[in-house]
Structures are given as C-alpha cells and as structure tokens.
C-alpha cells in the first residue's frame, strides 16, 4: 500500500467515524417521519406534532382519569381565561358605573325635589300608626345589617385590589380580605334566614294589584308636590323593592351556596336547559369548574344589582322622605304621613277599628 492510498483510506475512515459519532442523518437507514404522509416529525407521539398535542391541552381538551377527582382529566381549563377577563373587565366596569349612576341620579333628584315633606305637616295631636311590629323590624334590620356587611366584603373581593393596597398597604389589605371573606361566608346565613322571614311576613301585602298601576302612572307622586296616589300597605315602588330583594336574594343565596360548597351544587346547566326552551342557546353541558365560574359571575352581577336597588331604597327611606325612617325605627309612623303615602291602608285600618268597636257589646 502506497502512502497515497493509505492517506485516502484513513480519510474515508475518519469521515465514517465522525459521522457515526455525531449521528448524522446522512447515514441513517430509517426513512424520516417527514417523508411519510407529509407529517411534521413528532416526538414521543410518533407522527403527531408535539405542538398540536400541547395546543389541544391549552384549549381545554379533556382526557380520562381513573382517580375519583374527574376534574383532573382536564389539565388546562381555558374558560378560566374568558371568565377572568369578563369578571375583571366588563363586569367590574359596568358594576362600578351602575353604582355611580344611581348615586348621581339620587343626588340630582335630591337637588331638584329636595326632601319629600309631609304636606299636611305632622299630626298636631301626635297620632301615630303602627306600621311594622317588633318581629317585622327585627327581620328588616337583621337582613339589612347582614346585607351591608355582605356588600362591603363582596365589593372588596371585586374591587379591593384596585385601591385598598394603596390606601392601607398590602399586608393590611390581605388581612382585611381574609377576615372579610370569612365574614361574607358566615353572615350570609343571617341574610338567607332574613330573606325567608321577609317573604313569609310580607308576601301577602306585596301581591301586585290595580292600584299599583295607577300609582306607577303617577310616578308615585315623587315628582310633584302635593300629589299622593292612593296605595295600600305597600305601594308599587315598595313592592318592586320587595320582589327584587326576594328574587335577587334567593338568586344570591343559591349562587352563594354553590360557591360555599364548590363542585357540590351545580345548577347552571339545568337552568340553561330550561332557559333554552325559550329559544336561547346556552351551553347545557358544563364542567364543575365552569359551573363555579358561572356561579361567581352571576353572584357578582346580582349582588351589584341588589346594591344599586338598595342604595335607592336607603335614600328614599331616610334622606329622601320625611317620616319614612320611623317605620323601621320604633315602627310607628305619623298618621298624616300614613294618610298621604298609604291612604288605602289607613282606610282599611280605620274600618277594622270601627268594625271592632261596633262588635263590642254595649255595657
């Protein structure tokens, strides 16, 4: 072997050894996956692209698991993104706008109309009528005080992070939020009991009737001095508040229970099925997490709606109308106030008193 031939042989061998060490595809005897069926080469899953695989997981694809917790079958719950965007975006901004609007409207109303006085003045003899008995007032205040705590702690959950850390510091905000969340969970039971008691106590006087239409047609006499459309024990405005509190309170309670016991109470899929009868197209198959997210959104929306309504209720019951607060303070209202705002109810009471007096045997 000449030196030239030896050098050529060594060069070829060195190329082969180098190619073998680096795993060069030049020497691979297997055809590349890309060459069969036009598929992008896959990893462990063979011809399926890893990117497609992870994209499907990211989009919320569900697998199967043998453990009891079936939620584990879904690695990434993509609906959570949309839920978070809605809750922190449109829901939060619409809610704060609604609350600002109602306060502004009431402020403008107060500037224009002022405090609604008793036109005839307070009864000169100081006569009063019992409007709410002890049990009714107790129920009102138990529900009202619990609602105020629930509102403040609920608003902290939705809006607190936006300004509270700046005002009181992060540590204090964390403590306030933790205690607020506990207060919210526990005082909710007083609110729920109050709603049931209110319904039992006042439903019979809150059935809508023809006088309510007349009352509403005259704007309840709120916009003109000296106008007092007749009303029974509760006028149409109060009936609207009552049914808002009952229906809204029941809705808040059920969605709140679903949040207190997550993944145990699931009601939205069933509710959507019923609503879809009227031509809607809500999803009727929901995962436990989606149920919880719907409950959280609905709880917030109804809660803000209730806050808006109760702000108006508090205004008209205190600052907006002379003598109204007495009804829930000691339960006795001025007779002239009652005649002006609940004339038909006073007539009923007078007729009952007269009938009672006549039925007494003469001595």
């Amino acid at each position: 072997m000449t030196g030239k031939k030896l050098r050529r042989l060594l060069a070829v061998l060195s190329i082969l050894v180098f190619a073998g060490l680096t795993g060069s595809p030049m020497l691979s005897v297997q055809p590349a996956a890309a060459q069969s069926g036009g598929q992008v080469p896959g990893g462990w899953s063979g011809s399926t692209s890893d990117a497609e695989f992870w994209r499907a997981i990211r989009k919320g694809v569900r697998g199967t698991v043998s453990i009891p917790d079936k939620k584990a079958a879904q690695l990434v719950q993509s609906d959570g993104d949309e839920f978070r965007a809605f809750r922190n975006g449109k829901m939060a901004s619409t809610g704060v706008t609604a609350m600002i609007i109602v306060v502004l409207v009431l402020f403008v109303f107060f500037i224009i109309r002022g405090k609604i006085k008793i036109d005839a003045g307070r009864d000169p003899e100081g006569q009063t009528i019992e409007r709410f008995n002890t049990l009714e007032r107790f129920t009102h205040w138990m529900t009202a005080s619990s609602f105020i705590i629930l509102s403040l702690t609920g608003l902290n959950v939705l809006y607190g992070k936006l300004f509270m850390p700046v005002l009181i510091g992060k540590e204090a905000f964390a403590a306030v939020s933790m205690w607020g969340k506990m207060a919210h969970n526990y005082i909710a039971w007083a609110f729920m009991i109050g709603i049931v008691m209110m319904f039992i106590l006042w439903v019979k006087d809150n059935i809508p009737g023809p006088t309510d239409i007349k009352w509403l047609a005259k704007g309840g006499g709120l916009f003109a001095k000296g106008m007092h459309p007749p009303a029974k024990r509760f006028n149409a405005g109060q009936k609207l508040i009552f049914w808002s509190v009952i229906v809204g309170g029941a809705s808040l309670s059920t969605s709140g229970l679903a949040l207190l016991f997550p993944f145990e109470l699931q009601m939205f899929a069933g509710t959507f099925k019923i609503i879809n009868v009227f031509g809607f197209d809500f999803p009727t198959v929901l995962s436990p997490l989606q149920e919880t997210q719907y409950a959280l959104m609905w709880h917030g929306i109804v809660g803000i709606g209730m806050i808006v309504i109760i702000i108006a209720h508090i205004y008209i019951g205190s600052l907006g109308m002379e003598g109204a607060i007495d009804a829930v303070a000691d339960g006795h209202v001025d007779r002239n106030w009652a005649i002006e705002h609940h004339g038909l109810w006073v007539e009923e009471l007078d007729n009952e008193a007269t009938a009672g007096a006549e039925s007494q045997p003469a001595e």
């Binding site: 009891p68 917790d69 584990a72 107790f138 129920t139 205040w141 969970n185 526990y186 000691d330």
Partner: protein, 45 residues
Amino acid sequence: MTGEKWKSFWMGTIAAVVIAVVAGIVMTSTNMTAGEKFSSSSTRL
C-alpha cells in the same frame, strides 16, 4: 341610633352576628382533615 327607638335595629344586628358566629363554628367544625383536604377526591376549595 341609640335608645328605645332603635332597639329593633340593635336586636336585628346582634342576631345577624350571632347567626354568623354559629354558622362559622359549624362550618369550621365540619372542615375536612388534612388527609381529606389534599386527597385527589377533594371537592372543597
């Protein structure tokens, strides 16, 4: 908001607090053990 006139306000408010305390005690006492809490079958947050 003091005196006899606001008695029902205080009664209602105190009742709400009492109910909340009772609810808190009941709910806390029914809390799951750590074993249950961290089990894959746990459904309570």
